[in-house]
């Protein structure tokens, strides 16, 4: 099929789809008139029952925790897939000499890494109190690790972004989530039951066992993304090194 034929059959269909979507979306209650009940039940239950301030994360890590477990494994599987696909003929190289010369960059870079990682951990820790949680904090921690490449150079990054270190961490993060769920099952409760109901609302210690789930999600996300970044960076750097 030529492009012209393709677009010729596609545009009328797109118009049809547009009509269908407009027809459907006019049936949605007017903007701002959310009728519930799901959301209202959750906001009325989340805080009193679970000592959480952040209703979104009480849904994410407790009420609909199994969704998030699936989501962690989607990330887990995708990173495995990327590693499999990009692990080509090039492999790793030791011949990269892009170490940062400037001491100033190294010092401030190290400080920045510390700061970003701390912010990431903070975002994970207070996930049940303020916006944030395992995913957002995990990405922040991974981007802190990425700064290592900018501040120090590829070799130091490669030493850290090594899969023999990161794979176990990633496995523990993803598997840990499921094992916490299983712990409840072994204790005679349904899978992923939040078993420490206590805790102090508004503090790091809120959320019961969902807090552990949150932390394992954070670990999984951070490790998975560092692997992802490192695979893509290698795609970029290794051929450069070989070319020069």
């Amino acid at each position: 099929m030529t492009r012209r034929v393709r677009i010729g059959i596609f545009l009328p269909a797109l118009a049809g789809l547009a009509a269908l979507l407009v027809w459907a979306y006019t049936g949605i209650p007017a903007f701002g008139d959310y009728q519930g009940p799901y959301g209202f039940v959750v906001t009325k239950l989340a805080t009193p029952l679970r000592h959480m301030d952040n209703a979104v994360n009480s849904v994410t890590y407790d009420i609909r925790g199994i969704d998030t477990m699936g989501e962690e494994f989607i990330l887990f599987g995708a990173v495995i897939g990327v590693v499999l696909l990009l692990r080509g003929e090039e492999g790793r190289t030791e011949d990269v000499h892009d170490d940062t010369g400037s001491d100033l960059v190294r010092v401030f870079g190290t400080l920045a890494i510390g700061a970003v990682v701390l912010v990431g951990l903070w975002v994970v820790a207070f996930g049940f109190v303020t916006p944030g949680g395992g995913f957002q904090g995990g990405v922040a921690v991974a981007s802190g690790a990425l700064l290592l490449y900018l501040a120090a150079g590829y070799r130091e990054w490669a030493a850290f972004g090594n899969e023999s270190i990161l794979d176990p961490i990633k496995g523990i993060g993803g598997g840990g989530y499921a094992v916490i769920g299983l712990a409840a099952l072994v204790g005679g409760m349904p899978f992923l039951t939040n078993f420490f109901h206590g805790g102090v609302t508004g503090s790091v210690f809120s959320g019961g066992s969902a807090a552990f789930v949150n932390w394992s999600a954070g670990i999984e996300v951070a490790a998975a993304l560092v692997i992802l970044f490192s695979e893509f960076l290698e795609e970029y750097i290794v051929p450069l090194a070989k070319g020069s």
Binding site: N54, V56, Q136, S143, F232, L233, Y236
Partner: protein
Amino acid sequence: MIVATLVPLQAVALALVALGAPAVVLSRDPLKMIVVNGLYGLTLVLMFVIFGAPDVALSMLVVGTVAYPLVVLVAIARVRARSGEEEGEE
């Protein structure tokens, strides 16, 4: 009820998103693409904040400022480098 449920700020954010989407799709130059896509991500972040979804905004922010750009930039750089080599050889 139906009138003016949308505050002006929300309308502005929505308009930005509505303009951003075709801007991403119609930018065919790789580098322009990534800049436009980054801006589109920011308009989404803005919209999430205005719609009362700070958690989602934070997610989009970390994803849009770190993960997307890195991954897409590497892909573009790689494709350019290779194409450059080939042109050089020919």
